[in-house]
């Protein structure tokens, strides 16, 4: 027995990867776990947790869980970023070793893209989409819960790698053959492939779910051209997910097979072609960056109209442009490897197709500006993010165009110029957009506003910090500094700019701290939203009380105009004053189920077992997966009913009934 324990410890915590920082993370995670367990037990909350959260299929609660996960991951990825930046400011006395640095930038990129941006987007989809289109829930509520748990357990799998066995260290792009066993024998890359495969299944299902939701579940009268822009963005994003994730799945599986089952896709020997991985990865990867930026585009379209008190400018052109971005996104992937020697015809073709995206994107920028023109702009936190987004994203887009200029990319590829480009679009576009959406919809999700003053402090710290961090990185690129190096010689003049950049990163970190303070403070003291419409909004979700009752709409409204709620307010008809007690009907709602959680858990077990190639554990997990699937195949008990009387009482308590 002791020898078995020794074996376990040796495999799980190999000597060469167990270093102080990991031990620290280990202790922190353990301590947090203990605290949580203690708290739950003390407050007798276990049952509450299980009934209200772990088994829920309510899109509004799933949204909250996604949001918590996303913010936690922003913290985790942000701490990684600060570690990276600290190291780069001190090239002569690196704080973390090269091995650790490699793990840290890998987890930073992976977490930020897959486990921060994606769940943040899904949080807002879940929170808002059914409300905006006048539906009771998403098309497939159980599938929705499954997606969440697959994502959550995928994220967990990646996160425990830091503590158990060693993290992946080949970058978020994981190019072979470096990920092959020859160069990378530890379990780290297994973690990477498996966690992304598991989370990827969940994401694909989310794509299917929201595509069908927006296609088929809209309230009567909400024709395509009456949908809010955020719904268009949801639709386009979901379609992109559908089209983009399969190549990733295949690329990950091929790499995993090379590692676990001895296939020869990307190996040095036996005719492997590592470039095929690159090809498949970017077939996914480029659409992915639009997956994370189209929802923010949708958010901005809502935010800018609301806070300018004016209709969105050029709605139909906005629709055309979002659809063309969706199409073009799928035809530009080679721009990530112009320098892999595909012929000049290939490079020229993809250079041009990349540039084409600037046209519909530019149209959107101008339309947002002209939405403000002739409006009345209120500078709330949500709106500030929008205003910061425009210049930041335009610069990021412009540097993107420079990268698309093929011969220029031969020079700029994989330099800090590239790093600066994509942080410009990822932070200026994606993160600012998501934070804008969070501040905007927070009252709807939680029933109170976030404190504006604190929010604006956080905003300015982020925004200034951003430019101090990434402005100098363009210059570093021009000085020839390449990415993914943990230290550098002093003779190149890279040091000073790196120090500035690091200072900026800490300013952003301060912004994050203020934001967390803002959230925590507002949970207690935040201004309650009693009207359900704190911003004088335009779309249907603002017709509902905040937070929204479980069944969303007591009766599904009929939509007659584009900004449905604004239109109703203009005409003096609002849901609240036109519902009569006898209008209430029994409502059918999806019923809670433990299957999604258990399925996620089973997948986690499979993933963990495979990481260490412990096939017995894999077999257990697989049995769990099959059992969950079979169980749900025979489970016909999917719905529960909320009686008309209950609804009448709830609505009356909310003050939403006539008489």
């Amino acid at each position: 027995m002791p020898s078995f324990v020794q074996y376990l410890i040796r495999t799980l915590f190999p000597h060469d990867v167990l270093r102080p920082t990991e031990l620290g993370a280990d202790v922190m995670i353990l301590a947090t776990g203990v605290i949580i367990v203690y708290y739950l037990t003390k407050q007798k909350k276990w049952l509450y947790l299980w009934n209200e959260w772990l088994t829920t299929v309510d899109h509004k609660k799933i949204a909250v869980m996604y949001l918590i996960a996303a913010v936690a991951m922003l913290f985790r990825g942000g701490v990684d970023a600060l570690m990276l930046r600290t190291n780069l400011a001190l090239p002569t006395t690196p704080v973390i070793s090269d091995l650790e640095y490699n793990q840290v930038f890998t987890t930073h990129g992976t977490i930020m893209i897959f486990f921060m941006a994606m769940p943040f987007i899904f949080a807002l989809f879940n929170a808002v989409v059914p409300l905006m289109i006048g539906a009771r829930d998403v098309a497939f509520p159980r599938l929705n819960a499954m997606s969440f748990w697959l994502f959550a357990f995928g994220a967990l799998l990646l996160n425990i790698s830091f503590v158990i066995g060693g993290s992946p260290d080949a970058g978020w792009t994981a190019y072979p053959p470096y990920t092959g066993l020859l160069f990378n024998p530890g379990p780290g890359e297994n973690y990477y492939f498996l966690s992304l495969l598991i989370a990827g299944i969940g994401t694909t299902m989310t794509g299917v779910n929201f595509l069908v939701t927006t296609l088929r579940m809209r309230a009567p009268g909400m024709t395509l051209m009456k949908m809010p822009m955020f719904i268009w963005a949801t639709m386009a994003t979901s379609a992109l997910i559908l089209f983009a994730f399969p190549p990733l799945t295949v690329a990950l599986a091929m790499s995993l097979f090379d590692r676990l089952f001895g296939s020869s896709f990307f190996t040095l020997a036996h005719g492997g072609l590592p470039m095929m991985y690159v090809n498949l990865f970017w077939l996914f990867g480029h659409p992915e960056v639009y997956i994370v930026v189209l929802p923010p585009f949708g958010i901005f379209s809502e935010v800018v109209a609301t806070f300018s008190r004016k209709a969105l400018f050029g709605y139909s052109v906005m629709v055309v442009s979002i659809i063309s971005i969706m199409f073009l996104a799928y035809g530009t992937w080679v721009h990530h490897f112009f320098t892999m020697g595909a012929g000049p015809a290939v490079n020229a073709f993809f250079g041009l197709s990349t540039m084409l995206i600037a046209i519909p994107t530019g149209v959107k920028i101008f339309n947002w500006i002209f939405t403000m023109w002739g409006g009345r702009i209120r500078l709330t936190t949500a709106m500030l993010y929008q205003l910061a987004f425009i210049p930041t994203f335009v610069i990021g887009g412009a540097t993107g165009i420079l990268l698309a200029t093929v011969p220029a990319d031969y020079q700029l590829h994989n330099t800090y110029f590239l790093i600066a480009h994509f942080h410009n679009v990822l932070i200026g576009g994606t993160l600012f957009g998501l934070l804008s959406g969070m501040y905007y919809w927070w009252p709807k999700m939680f029933g109170h506003k976030l404190n504006e003053r604190q929010g604006q402090w956080a905003f300015w710290l982020y925004f200034i910090g951003f430019w101090v961090t990434f402005g100098p990185q363009y210059l570093l690129g021009l000085k020839g500094m390449t990415r993914r190096i943990y230290t550098y010689p002093l003779g190149f003049g890279w040091h000073e700019l790196n120090v500035i950049s690091t200072v900026g990163a800490f300013i952003m970190g301060a912004g994050f701290v203020v934001m967390v303070y803002n959230v925590v403070w507002s949970l207690k003291y935040g201004e309650k939203d009693l009207t359900g419409d704190p911003w004088d909004g335009r779309t249907l979700e603002w017709a509902l009380p905040s937070p929204v009752p479980e069944y969303n709409f007591a009766r599904i409204p009929v939509v007659t105009a584009r900004d449905a709620w604004w239109d109703m307010k203009q005409k003096g008809q609002t849901l609240a004053n036109s519902l009569r007690p006898e209008d209430m009907r029994t409502i059918e709602l999806p019923k809670n189920t433990p299957v999604p959680f258990l399925l996620g858990l089973a997948f986690f077990v499979v993933g963990f077992g495979m990481t260490f190639q412990w096939w017995v554990i894999v077999a257990f997990g697989a049995a769990g997966v099959v059992a969950s699937l079979v169980y749900s195949a025979f489970d016909y008990d999917e719905h529960k009913h909320v009686g008309a009387e209950v609804i009448r009482r709830t609505e009356a308590a909310l003050g939403r009934l006539q008489g």
Partner: protein, 309 residues
């Protein structure tokens, strides 16, 4: 709730400010390697970068100005006299304008981009260019001169004033071969051989680096390319033949170890240390060939004959 003093520090100053500060602190100079090309390839790439950047300024500046004016003019403050059109939701003419402006600007960039992309893919006419076979090994660079029968590690010597053809492969994870002042990078990949031509105008020493992460010792993959006059190049070859030992298979296997080493020089090398065949390329963009290396040098074999391998 909306403090007015926020207006004092518009974000549009942040970028230029950061850039200016950056320039002051670091001192604009030779260290901006991308801005100081030392060969025709890097020169034309920089040229394109500048053209494209100027075109970008043509959009960036108006957008920033427009945004600033809009925000200042249409702030929701008491007594704002600017017009308020809550239902103004489109204007055909304006919208057509901003479909057209980007198209025009992009054409300005696109035309030279395509031209340069094709131009750079053709080796300029040169009688018998010096060929250098580059292999990236785990955290070191191996340069082999099939015409001169010399090999070096972690540095290369090239004749100035004439194009040099680099053939790139890897016996390691992928790297990119990059000498910023001479020209853009290209990947080194196992089982493939990719071409890259570079030229230095003048004698000089130019640093190079790998641009693609390849593991632990990756950040040490710096190397120097020494450009010397053609005569000095011939003398260098002669001197290597006189002073250095030939590379043995054992030497090569030592190079394959996962470590970093200093510079090395060899007067010859075993012929099978560079791929004899791989997915190949042409030098003029037509047809498809495979490179065959043997004792007599290099032959290009048409793809159609490949099936019997």
């Amino acid at each position: 709730m909306m403090p007015k003093r926020r207006r004092g520090w518009p974000y549009r100053y942040v970028v230029p400010l950061a850039m200016v500060v950056g320039l002051l602190v670091s001192g604009c100079g030779q260290q901006y390697v991308l801005l100081h090309p030392a060969g025709p390839v890097a020169q034309s790439e920089l040229h394109l970068l500048i053209v494209a950047s100027l075109a970008m300024l043509v959009v960036i500046v108006p957008v920033f100005v427009l945004l600033a004016i809009t925000v200042i003019r249409f702030r929701d403050k008491p007594g704002n006299k600017a017009p308020y059109w809550p239902n103004w939701h489109g204007n055909k003419k304006l919208e057509i304008i901003w479909w057209i402006i980007p198209v025009v600007l992009l054409t300005v960039i696109a035309v030279p981009t395509v031209g340069q992309t094709f131009a750079l893919s053709k080796l300029p006419k040169a009688k018998d260019p010096v060929i250098i076979d580059v292999t990236s090994l785990t955290w070191k660079w191996l340069f082999q001169y099939p015409g001169q029968h010399v090999a070096t590690v972690n540095y290369a010597v090239i004749p100035a004033g004439e194009p040099v053809l680099f053939e790139l492969t890897a016996d390691s994870p992928m790297n990119t071969f990059w000498v910023p002042q001479l020209g853009g990078m290209e990947y080194t990949m196992p089982n493939e051989v990719l071409p890259l031509w570079l030229e230095a105008y003048k004698p000089g020493v130019y640093w190079g680096h790998s641009g693609n992460f390849s593991g632990e010792g990756f950040e040490k993959m710096f190397f120097n390319v020494k450009s010397v006059t053609p005569e000095a190049f011939q003398q260098w070859v002669k001197k290597v033949h006189q002073t250095a030992k030939p590379m043995t298979m054992t030497n090569y296997h030592n190079l394959l170890a996962f470590n970093t080493v200093g510079v090395q020089t060899y007067s010859n090398y075993p012929s099978d240390t560079f791929p004899a065949e791989a997915n190949g390329f042409t030098l003029n963009g037509e047809g498809m060939y495979m490179i065959m290396h043997d004792q007599h040098g290099i032959t290009y074999m048409p793809m159609s004959d490949m099936s019997n391998h």
